[in-house]
Amino acid sequence: MEKLQVNRKFLPLIIAMSLFVLVYAFGMIQYKGFSSPQVFLNILIDNAFLFITCIGMTFVILSEGIDLSVGAVIALTTVVSAYMVEKMAIHPFIAIPSVLLMGTLMGLVMGSIIYFFKVQPFIVTLAGLFFARGMCFVISTEAITISHPFYRAVSLYRIYLPGGYFISVSVVIFLVVLVVALYLAHLSNFGRAVYAIGGNEHSARLMGLPVGRTKILVYTQNGFLSALAGVVFSLYTLSGYGWYVNGLELDAIAGVVIGGTLLTGGVGYVIGSVFGVLIMGLIQTIVIFQGTLNSWWTRIVVGLLTLFFILIQGALVSGKRKRLSVARIEESWEEQEDELGADPTKNLVADS
């Protein structure tokens, strides 16, 4: 029985990894040139911002929360940094830390409201979404192109790997974030508290874990990572615009879910989310390789895939709950029988 429990926990992650291998193999068999390592590296380059967002989102979902504001914060970051660099002529060395601070503060405020006022994360971050999107247009209703030499240099810089393959600076940023996140999730007190809160907030509190601080930190961290993803995205597009990454919330949640993190919190792995994004990137690449498919087919496939994983998880979780509740009912009946003797109804009737 013990062994079965562990298997169930790993199951979604194993499915995600196998799916990645399967889709990759399919691409290699089906399309010429798909097997080139550069194709894989391009997925990393094109989706660096999504990887970073998904890593932050993993922590939020692990703590049984949700953050719908990520896409809007990314858009706001691109707009603010573009505006600062282009319109106010502020050097990127000052502009980038400022927008990172801005994102962190937004996360801190949302986390504090969620914790102190006991408001559902969903509604608070939805308000955050609208606030950030609105602020984008307060600053500029038009797209702003970034032509600062520093931005251009970083954006176009290629880091060459053996064999002539290359990655961008964004990929390096993503890898650093990944290493830090893996440490935080699995080796730090913070990570342990996040898992405990997601598993059962009440018992986490009884265990003496700093529930409030951890919850607020999770959203603060996610705000910072969203802003970092925004910086990476502005490097990718070299511009800022308020309608950028509209609906990225779903992509981020989809990546996390496909990666095997339970939406009910407490179960999941940061590395799973990386595989989730990789699978989405692979599907996108296959749609491009196919050439005849419309680009929004990616969304529909990703949507269906998400659904598939949510349903698997739903089955796993409800199976667990059902067994628990049945056991509990049986237990209570046994207790009643012990207390009341052979015929429990007799006493109940007498009571009423």
Binding site: F117, I123, G134
Partner: protein
């Protein structure tokens, strides 16, 4: 003295008190800052003026709010209403078809098929939530994004203009001097109100929202109730889609009903229905919708860019949500009870 205090307490504790106060505040603001806001005139036998304009433009939002109230009452939420508006408008525009001003499909069929598609969307959401055991937010998020893709599939990625004149009546017509869309709202509201007050469904919905497993054990089929509220919500969104597309005489897969979800949720929350489910107030939601629309109209009247309205709405959501939160409620109760014992 004692009598007047208890009367005041009774008025204050009525669920429509705060929404009506907020509405009065906005109206007061407009009375001072927006000249001609309360002017009503009759042109060609139709009533015109800012107030009628708010009601007319607010009609789709009122419809959404009525549907959303039921969903939120079951402790759920439907984020896909905007996408359903887009799908429904796209279907209607496609069915009407050609640019000659004649419809390719009889109007009654256009309406029935479009609403049928909306109901299908609702069934999809409802099944995911009730049978798939998926959190409502995530389940409806799938359709929220995929829905725009579907709408684009229907319109071939273009904005379809509608040339069929009789269709304009739904969102732009007048009946007995008032916009026709208001009669639609009144009809849907009456239906929802009768359903919740004159049948047991209202009670079931509140019961499911308070505690779905105990409802199940007391013999309510909570799965079907949940399915029903999502279908009803999607149907309301579908009707709103018809009203909107008829009003702007086109179907835009990308922008029709964009971010309508927040407005609808905002209206419901302002109306006094809690996001955590349970008691729901249809009348409150309609007043909430009028408040949201008055806010939007006021912001436009002040000459502020349309997108900035999002910031204002976000702040209002926050204030309202904080007002309803436990911490503030306890503090408020303490302040008011102290004052009342002093008098």
């Amino acid at each position: 003295m004692v009598d007047s205090t208890s009367m005041w307490t009774r008025i204050r504790s009525h669920h429509l008190f705060w929404p009506l106060m907020a509405l009065a505040l906005i109206m007061l603001f407009n009375l001072i800052f927006t000249p001609g806001f309360f002017k009503l005139e009759i042109k060609d036998g139709h009533l015109f003026g800012s107030l009628i304009d708010i009601l007319n433009r607010g009609a789709p939002l009122m419809l959404l709010a009525i549907g959303m109230t039921m969903v939120i009452a079951t402790a759920g939420v439907d984020l896909s209403v905007g996408a359903v508006i887009a799908i429904c408008a796209a279907v209607a525009a496609r069915l009407i078809g050609n640019e000659t001003g004649i419809t390719a499909t009889p109007l009654i069929l256009v309406i029935l098929i479009s609403l049928g598609v909306a109901i299908l969307c609702g069934i999809w959401n409802g099944l995911l939530v009730s049978r798939g055991n998926i959190q409502p937010m995530v389940a409806t998020l799938v359709l929220m994004v995929a829905g725009r893709g579907i709408a684009q599939l229907i319109t071939d990625g273009q904005i379809l203009t509608i040339y069929y004149e009789p269709y304009y009546f739904i969102g732009g017509g007048y009946l007995f001097g008032l916009p026709f869309s208001l009669y639609i709202v009144a009809g849907v509201f009456l239906f929802a109100w009768l359903l919740s007050k004159r049948t047991a469904i209202g009670l079931f919905v509140e019961s499911v929202g308070t505690n779905d497993s105990s409802s199940f054990y007391s013999g309510i089929s909570e799965k079907n109730i949940k399915l029903f509220v999502y279908v009803f919500c999607a149907l309301c969104a579908g009707i709103a889609g018809l009203v909107i597309s008829s009003n702007i005489k086109s179907a835009d897969a990308n922008n029709a009903g964009l971010l309508a979800e927040l407005d609808a949720i905002l209206a419901v929350v302002i109306g006094g229905t809690l996001m955590s489910g349970g008691r729901f107030y249809l009348g409150g939601s309609v007043i909430g919708a009028i408040i949201v629309q008055s806010m939007t109209t006021t912001i436009y009247a002040l000459g502020v860019p349309a997108e900035v309205a999002y910031v204002v709405k976000a702040l209002v959501v926050l204030v309202v949500v904080l007002l309803y939160s436990e911490m503030v409620k306890v503090a408020m109760d303490r302040i008011f009870t102290r004052k009342e014992t002093q008098t």
